[in-house]
């Protein structure tokens, strides 16, 4: 069973063309010698490297974060000091800035293994091995710099504790996913994020171990129950409307700002002026924004994780056949104050029975709205928009082409100009005059 899950997961990972890579710290008795700074290692090379550090009685302990990136190490700060103080103080350590799928390859490479989940110092008492060569220590999801600091302290404690029990310990600190991805294909990123919570726990758990206590975040009561009046803004009053048929909607809590010029469900055109928008804040990182008109209700569940937000759609609460509604272009953006605008958004149900089309769609969630904002003047989309252009858009190509053309013509012209020679034959006024032939 475990091997089946492992095979499925590695197949899932293997089908991704662009592998995600996480950094890895290696420290302990024998650290690998010298590494070029930005070398990328794939899983097998990494596993071979770790195995080469281990002798017969070496214990390898792998501290695994769910999400870890190079930026976490460099940017994480707690009151001007780095969060990873203990890690910083270790003298002999090696740092690999990009390794592809380290945890899976280590699991595959080592035989007997044990996994524990540590969320506080009490869990460290379970950290004992008998006979296994490798111990995986999983941490909870990181939400802030303090979590990294706590994990750092736990790592230090556990490492010292294991060193007392075993003589040779090699420690690896790495992650499963990077915290930030810059994937080209938007769809792939969203599916990954959905796949992890469902399949993560069964795979990485040893069947004998007790299931780790997973506490889902308690759903808060919707805050503004009394005043959830939807507000509709006419296009001429709001600067952000692109053309006359686009309306800009915002809810009374100011959690969401949305622009829309057409709304069609299964070939039924719904008048955008009849749309109403409401929002509730389900938790610190989750908003639910609902667009409704008559019997049609489209809910955008906006989740924030790792500084970027993404949206999952539900239509009529997914009442019919529990179909999942996926947008053709994944709706997400890189930062808290980014909006998403990609022209027209088409949302399909998983069995292709329903199609919802939103024309001229732009959306910006606001997880922490300013209560004193002046709605008519200041409520606008931010300047940062996540639109669907990649690195080279047609405009950029056009401008580059024009510039290269003009510069090359200029270069040729200048070259011809430099080729002109002036005559210096007559610079000596006292010399005798001579006939000139036409060849000079």
């Amino acid at each position: 069973m475990l091997k089946l899950y492992l095979a499925l997961i590695s197949l899932g990972f293997a089908t991704q063309i662009n592998c995600e890579s996480v950094p890895a710290f290696i420290f302990g008795d024998k650290t690998p010698a010298h590494f070029p700074a930005l070398e990328h290692l794939n899983g097998d090379e990494f596993a071979t490297l770790i195995k080469s550090q281990a002798t017969k009685d070496t214990l390898t302990v792998v501290f695994v974060e769910n999400k870890l990136s190079v930026e976490d190490f460099s940017q994480c700060r707690l009151k001007t000091k780095t969060c990873f103080e203990n890690l910083n103080n270790i003298e002999r350590k090696s740092y690999l800035s990009s390794v592809a799928q380290p945890v899976d390859s280590l699991m595959a490479a080592f035989g007997k293994q044990k996994s524990i989940t540590v969320s506080s110092a009490e869990d460290l008492k379970d950290a004992k091995v008998d006979g296994e060569k490798i111990l995986f220590v999983y941490f909870d999801e990181v939400e802030s710099a303090e979590d990294f600091y706590k994990h750092d302290v736990l790592i230090n404690k556990l490492y010292n504790q294991l060193k007392e029990q075993n003589e040779n310990v090699v420690a690896v600190y790495t992650g499963i996913h990077p915290s930030f991805t810059y994937s080209q294909s938007l769809k792939r990123k969203i599916r990954e994020a959905e796949a992890v919570p469902a399949e993560d726990k069964p795979v990485h758990e040893n069947p004998e171990e007790p299931k780790p206590a997973e506490e889902p975040k308690p759903a808060e009561e919707p805050k503004a129950v009394e005043e959830n009046k939807p507000v509709l803004q006419k296009p001429k009053q709001h600067d952000d409307a692109v053309n006359a048929s686009q309306i800009v909607l915002y809810d009374s809590n100011h959690y969401a700002l949305m622009a829309l010029s057409g709304f069609i469900v299964d070939n039924n055109t719904i008048d955008v002026h009849s749309l109403q928008i409401e929002s509730t804040k389900v938790s610190e990182n989750e908003l639910t924004v609902t667009l409704s008109s008559g019997s049609h209700k489209l809910a955008l569940n906006t989740h924030m994780s790792g500084g970027s937000w993404f949206v999952k759609f539900r239509y009529n609460d997914n009442n019919e056949d529990n179909e999942i509604y996926h947008p053709r272009t994944a709706v997400y953006a890189f930062g808290e104050h980014f909006s998403f605008g990609c022209g027209n958004l088409i949302i399909e149900s998983s069995k292709r029975t329903h199609i919802i089309q939103l024309f001229g769609f732009q959306y910006q969630p606001n997880f922490n709205p300013d209560p004193n904002i002046d709605v008519d003047k200041d409520l606008k989309f931010s300047d940062s928009v996540s639109d669907c252009v990649g690195f080279f858009s047609p405009a950029i190509w056009g401008a580059l082409f024009v510039v290269i053309l003009l510069v090359s013509i200029l270069t040729w012209g200048l070259y011809m100009m430099m080729d002109i020679r002036t005559m210096d034959r007559f610079d000596d006024p006292k010399g005798k005059t001579i006939t000139i032939n036409a060849q000079e």
Binding site: A395, A399, V402, L406, M416, I420, E440
Partner: protein
Amino acid sequence: MALPEEAPIYGPFFGVMGAAAAIIFSALGAAYGTAKSGTGIAAMSVMRPELIMKSIIPVVMAGIIAIYGLVVAVLIAGALEEPPKYTLYKAFIHLGAGLAVGFSGLAAGFAIGIVGDAGVRGTTQQPRLFVGMILILIFAEVLGLYGLIVAIYLYTK
């Protein structure tokens, strides 16, 4: 303020590049024509100073090339506007007009320069070459004129 897709914020870049290209490249061609034929005139004037004024003709024709470019550049600059009113279509047309007159003016200027240089030097030795030189210069000049025609025609679209 959100701009429509057909009049994006970078639209004027192409229009302005057209105006710049018009004057830059035609000036480059005129400069080459003037300089090259100027060396010829300086060379031959030592022997036959009375022919100097007749030999100024290539320089004048090179100057006309620059005027073609100036006209088109001023026309384009007069039609430039800010983004919502200045569509990408207009911008591309202006770019095309500017490039048409600029690059053909450059070519014409090169031709005038070389023909003027050789013709002027030859005319000192053989006065019957003068008429032939003028004819060749006219053909070289008319290349720039073709560019101007295309540019004006594009501009009026």
